[in-house]
Symmetry: C2
Subunit: 151 residues, 2 copies
DNA sequence: CAGATATTGACAGGTACCTGTCCATTTGGT
DNA sequence: ACCAAATGGACAGGTACCTGTCAATATCTG
């Protein structure tokens, strides 16, 4: 009712589409980890879990790898530390820094988290085709590389 | 230094790429509106400005069109109302509802905001090619349509 | 037409990012 | 060796979304 203002195709706004897809991705990761039993891990924690090597890593480095600000990583690390997934120790090579390490528990989640991402991508591939998703990935990378402000 | 843990291609994570592109889009819209002199308008306001017709519209309908929750729209409308871009009047056909209308000032921004979106898309096209961006758009739509939870 | 159900829009509160600022420490130039 | 500049990480605070709940009104059903 009240459809007097018609619209054939409601102008699919690129901003909205990107927001929705990102939400889908994020929520899928969260759901997958919940189902794997890691109910206390939230999406932002992936920025730490996905990039922490067994040799330890600084918050600043995690920030660069995950492309988020240091503050976001700091908060995620604090939460993961409280939950027992990571621990921080002073960096012997830099007295300003602290190194983040996975605990035994963290070492158990990491593969699950990595697998979740892969599984979701495969799900998208099953829906749109592997080549399409590959094309999507490279398009996103291409724009980010070539766009100004990209660092 | 410390590059012992090498990585040729650092695994371009789809979630991160989507987040970064969405940030780019959002920030570009904000910058464009700033440059056009509308410094008090923020990205979330576009969800209202882009979809409000001269005949007025309910918050719930804006929520559906912009694919965000009612609460987000309500907040954006409140802010835009304080800034003098929209006004709310009771819906004569539904005593629960209120209709959102653009003020004269709001009618001035709307075309600028719409043009900003178009301009940014053209910028992306100039960087990746029009066909690539068209492909990106339809891929995003395709995934959203075919994915579960897409309502 | 009465009662169950759905919808509108508000209130409260949480999450994942962001910017700005600050201090300790390291690094780099002369 | 010094001092300037960069870097590591913390503190404070803001934005744009989210979920859950609720009262008032509307709509659907028997």
């Amino acid at each position: 009712m009240g459809n007097s203002t018609l619209m054939g195709s409601p102008t699919p706004n690129l901003g909205i589409l990107l927001r929705l897809l990102h939400q889908q991705w994020t929520q899928a990761i969260d759901t997958a980890l919940d189902e794997a039993g890691f109910v206390d891990i939230r999406p932002s924690h992936s920025n730490v879990l996905a990039f922490t090597p067994s040799s330890g890593i600084q918050v600043s480095e995690l920030s660069k790898l995950s492309k988020t600000r240091k503050q976001s990583i700091t908060q995620a690390v604090e939460e993961l530390e409280k939950l027992g997934y990571v621990e921080r120790r002073p960096d012997p090579r830099d007295k300003r820094g602290r190194l983040v390490f996975l605990t035994v528990r963290g070492q158990a989640v990491q593969p699950t988290a990595m697998a979740a991402g892969k599984r979701i991508q495969q799900n998208w591939e099953s829906v749109a085709g592997k080549e399409t998703i590959d094309g999507l990935t490279s398009t996103l990378q291409l724009i980010l590389e070539r766009l100004p402000r990209g660092e």
